[in-house]
Symmetry: C6
């Protein structure tokens, strides 16, 4: 587990925070090629929490497994 705190001065952390606050629809691609669409709900140093639809349960995506995040639409 990565126990470092998130550093809010980093542009990546801030960009993710913006996408979380605005519930921006995103496509997230993992390093195994899996792609998922949805909105982010929170980030911590180890995971991103995602819902693929508003009524879906939260799912956790390993931050180390993230290859690419891009806004949809």
């Amino acid at each position: 587990m990565e126990s470092h705190a998130l550093d809010p001065s980093l542009p990546g952390v801030r960009q993710l925070q913006d996408w979380i606050r605005e519930r921006t629809p995103l496509q997230l691609q993992l390093i195994d090629g899996t792609a998922l669409g949805g909105c982010l709900y929170w980030q911590d140093p180890e995971f991103l929490a995602l819902k693929t639809s508003p009524e879906a349960p939260l799912l956790l995506m390993g931050r180390r497994a993230v290859a690419l995040i891009r806004p949809l639409g």
Copy 2:
């Protein structure tokens, strides 16, 4: 091995802890694409412990190898 202690203030650690306490049926996907269904029994900084059924033995899943965890059903 990751020797950092788990930080219970992180939402990812707490979410996993909730799933462990409630024995939530989960699908866990590894970065090689392997997917497994089951319930979590404990977490530590290196592994998640999973049973694919209540009478099955515990198996260990490398935390670094986790790509995605999602509740089933």
Copy 3:
């Protein structure tokens, strides 16, 4: 998350900074084989931010997932 600050004395950080400043068209290859063309807009210790065209939204590429970056043209 990698919380180390970027070290501007490293040639890799400086090379990326040059490509960012000059908006050099690049091909970026991830460790899953995904390749993307575009220009870099910023770097932080965890992500590179890329636009595939000037009017496209920023996308984030996990720095650990980068296998190869090469100038195009």
Copy 4:
């Protein structure tokens, strides 16, 4: 190389230690999908040492490459 010492208070380290002491037959799956059956002989922070049969030589498995360990039988 991971130079941290193993922390015997972690349940993952203890579970592995149990399997080592009891020579539990295990299936070990690596993140490239390779699966091997055998018993563990020792663990250190970088490797697990495995024999696929009692008279086979020890082989080393990179701890970071472990995706899944499950008891057989």
Copy 5:
């Protein structure tokens, strides 16, 4: 990003430095199986800089993504 300085007492750093100084033609294989031929120009803790031919632009190869480096010829 790896912010550790390179340690010139390590044989791997020295071997790479020799190949850089002598412009030894090398084959570099990444963990996704991509192979590239060329000469190294510098190393830092995060990247190796490579030219596939003397007039080609520098390209950056993620050090964590390197599986194998072997001299050609």
Copy 6:
């Protein structure tokens, strides 16, 4: 780059050192599935140095990319 020194008290480091000293023929498998046969010449925290035959040049194998090492024969 891993800048930690090798810890000779670890059984994995010692096992590798034995194989280096005795020039034990080994099969080394990387996490992308590549397999190579040869003898080890040295280890450092980032790389293992291998010759596939006594007259071949040294090649470097990223320690993080190692999935499995097993003696041949």
